[in-house]
Symmetry: C2
Subunit: 195 residues, 2 copies
């Protein structure tokens, strides 16, 4: 028999439990009962902090989205040649993905069944568009190859970066965040082949 923990959660620490459960069971497959069990507090204690699981989802994906959109406001993303700004954004995307791994993982798995999920998908598309615009500008400058269509290139680069959530584990035993970011920047901008 488990005894309920005294509720010492803040909205922030409760969020990290919820995100773990959402990533394990899927958002649709998670009930307030599952969250209550995982947190070790009653459902009414959870309702003391948040209005329900959709609010937890909104807070979680907001954290991932704020991290990603925050990149675009940084100086190196705003000043300089488009190709250099794009390189900076690609590196920072890897860093944010790793720093906010469970939150970005959840964001990438959102499907669109609820209002919050549709809002998150819309925000993701907006971020993609802003990065695609940077790639277009770099192509217009002649710094980026013109023989791969911008939207297709953006999709493939995002595909490479987003796939990191499938295997990266921040346990200190594998490759470091820095090695992953360096590798992505090298492959995306210069490719595998040695000149």
């Amino acid at each position: 028999m488990t005894t309920a923990k005294r509720d010492t959660y803040t909205p922030e620490t409760l969020l990290s439990v919820a995100v773990r459960v959402f990533n394990e069971r899927g958002y649709d497959g998670t009930s307030m009962e599952h969250l209550s069990k995982a947190a070790g507090i009653s459902k009414s204690s959870i309702y003391h902090h948040v209005s329900g699981k959709e609010e937890l989802l909104r807070r979680a994906v907001s954290r991932a989205l704020d991290g990603l959109f925050g990149i675009l406001d940084e100086d190196h993303a705003r000043v300089g040649r488009a190709a250099d700004r794009l390189e900076y954004v690609v590196r920072r995307m890897v860093e944010v993905l790793i720093a906010e791994l469970p939150y970005v993982t959840l964001l990438l798995r959102v499907r669109g069944n609820t209002g919050t999920e549709r809002w998150a998908l819309e925000r993701r598309r907006e971020f993609d568009h802003q990065v695609a615009a940077l790639l277009s500008a770099a192509a217009a400058d002649g710094d980026v190859r013109g023989d791969v269509e911008v939207r297709l290139a953006t999709r493939l680069v995002f595909g490479m970066i987003n796939s990191i959530v499938e295997w990266y584990r921040p346990d200190g035993r594998g490759v470091s965040e820095r090695e992953v970011a360096d590798a992505v920047v090298r492959l995306v901008f210069s490719g595998l082949r040695r000149d």
Copy 2:
């Protein structure tokens, strides 16, 4: 009220219905009842063709795996400089992924809850190792950059290729298979930046 269709399925056509349902609901979330409804035939008619849903899964992921491993037996994958063989394999991976889209999609979503899923994961790892070995050989020849660790580079390249299942729709309105394959080969080997 729906009337049951006369069972005109072959194991092959039944498989394509099953794969669609597995991809929509997830393999774990699919029951024989769901398959029976989607196919419009009774469960006992399905059992006439296959022993159950795990056999359908095995046939489906085998089709994807046979397609992928088949690439490694093709002449251009076996003869020539490692870097050229690698480039050929990358292009063919995109082609097989698109030609067998629902089957490869299912393979990439396999999680490891059943014996068949664990076997599929093991075969995927074996394929990854063979491509990584080709990349190692190309690096040893000096044709491929040495400053990205081989396993990490393999993961990132597979990440880019596998992400195609998330957005590619073979409806003739978007980019063609050829454009996608060209784009992947260009990005993977030469990167975005114009020299």
